[in-house]
Subunit: 324 residues, 2 copies
Amino acid sequence: MLRSGTTCFNDMYFFPQAAAGAAVRAGMRAMIGMAVLEFPTAYASDADDYIAKGLAARDALRESPGITTCLAPHAPYTVSDRSFTHLLTLAEQLDLRIHLHLHETHDEITQSLASHGCRPLERLRRLGLLGPGLIAVHAVHLEEHEIDLLAVHGASIAHCPTSNLKLASGIAPIARALARGVNVGIGTDGAASNNRLDLLRETSLAALLAKGSSGDAAALPAHRAIELATLGGARALGLEHEIGSIEPGKAADLCAIRFDALELAPCYDPASHLAYAAGREHVTHVWVNGSLRLDNGRHTWIDEEELKNTASLWQTKISPRNPM
Amino acid sequence: MLRSGTTCFNDMYFFPQAAAGAAVRAGMRAMIGMAVLEFPTAYASDADDYIAKGLAARDALRESPGITTCLAPHAPYTVSDRSFTHLLTLAEQLDLRIHLHLHETHDEITQSLASHGCRPLERLRRLGLLGPGLIAVHAVHLEEHEIDLLAVHGASIAHCPTSNLKLASGIAPIARALARGVNVGIGTDGAASNNRLDLLRETSLAALLAKGSSGDAAALPAHRAIELATLGGARALGLEHEIGSIEPGKAADLCAIRFDALELAPCYDPASHLAYAAGREHVTHVWVNGSLRLDNGRHTWIDEEELKNTASLWQTKISPRNPM
């Protein structure tokens, strides 16, 4: 992620302390989600156990530099009303964001209509979860009044275009959401459905898909797409006063992209060039909170050889060909 | 293009000798189109003049290594029945492919219905142009029977997904076309609507869009997507006996992609990795006809500094801020 210029990420997965530890070791900023589901996994046994483990991780991470936390109920179809209500209380008490997969697939909506008599977003509204602290991840299938609901309540969308295509979920109506004033940030989703975790490519794809799916070649112009990838993401996390733009008083979370590469000549419009022509291969330097993390393409805080060896070790360990 | 592993391209633009000259200097294989339109440009005055100039260029290029030519009527809305008929005769006499923009936009189809009483593909069929030598570029808007027509006549589609999105043309029904047996190659379109000319990214986008637009996450799997970018393109050009795959008797048009980069670890499935995780930044070596053209990321036949200077010179010359 650092190599594609990402300085901060918001994550939802099991074992939040492991994710936070990796972010701290890489020197990245991260908002780590405390995942909650109703069913047991290797991480926790039931919703109460997930919440207890999440809160314990949150306490343990209190002193970790650059690490914040949020509540991460997995999705409407894996979390009960009781747990959502519990999480809402926690969100209010602890001033935490709520990050969840929402309206990702048609199935999710059909299932909610059958089980709850309404679409997932309406269910969240009734439960009181719809508000400025809500990060709706994916938000592929939205009716007009649902876009308005997100806008009126100040909720954010985390747009993950590659994942939505790869899983055949569909194309999120981002041009319409932006036109109604919904805040949108760009996400990659996880490695299982994205493979690259390359924010620059996601930003480019977001700009292209908004045009192709809306039939309007002026939809989501380059500069606006870059805003989603920076300030839009910061707003979704409630960190827009600290990060997301280059301003006095904000942290120096920066990324340098070389435009002197042969394949980028000539450059007429830097914003257009960044959105449509450049890529992570042109990212040379990344700073997080003023501290250099990528120096001319080399990680300063990560031993690359050691990390490759670790990846190689785990590849054998979790290979489907190795039942151990 | 060489930097993203492209060894051969098919082009349609004015001044074919200039495009061919650039390909020869870069050491690339190219099928250069002889553009034909009815209206005057800086290059030619009318259809007969375009054809005459194209044929003269073809004669001049006869000895150029790796260069072949094709006929390139611009599009159904810019070429008359008379010119199409003339081009068909030439195609048959000279054994040339016909490359044209086809069913790129709704407007093109509406206009054809008004002017010719039928959709462009049907018009081409009536004129006799539909055959194995036809390269239908874009082919975004196709009805079921039109896909069948392309399949039955053995025509090819040049799929240009980024351009189709950026110009808000739509998404070509590639999964359905492949299911019916239409040959598909991957294109980038020109710099005006693509900005990167990166075949690896187009291949990745083709694989993703086929899934997202068909609602089938199994559509256009990675290995098949790579086949479109290689053998599919070669078949479209009628060069499948010379290039497009690694086989005894074929030319050594090859590209090496390093998979040892940190961001590519671990790799379980090379085809999936190539389609979804790797990019042009991992292309290290490119050979055309057995001769090294890119050596560990450095061009062997192109003076990079000189080319940058040339680009810089022309940037000033053609800047909209410079009326000269």
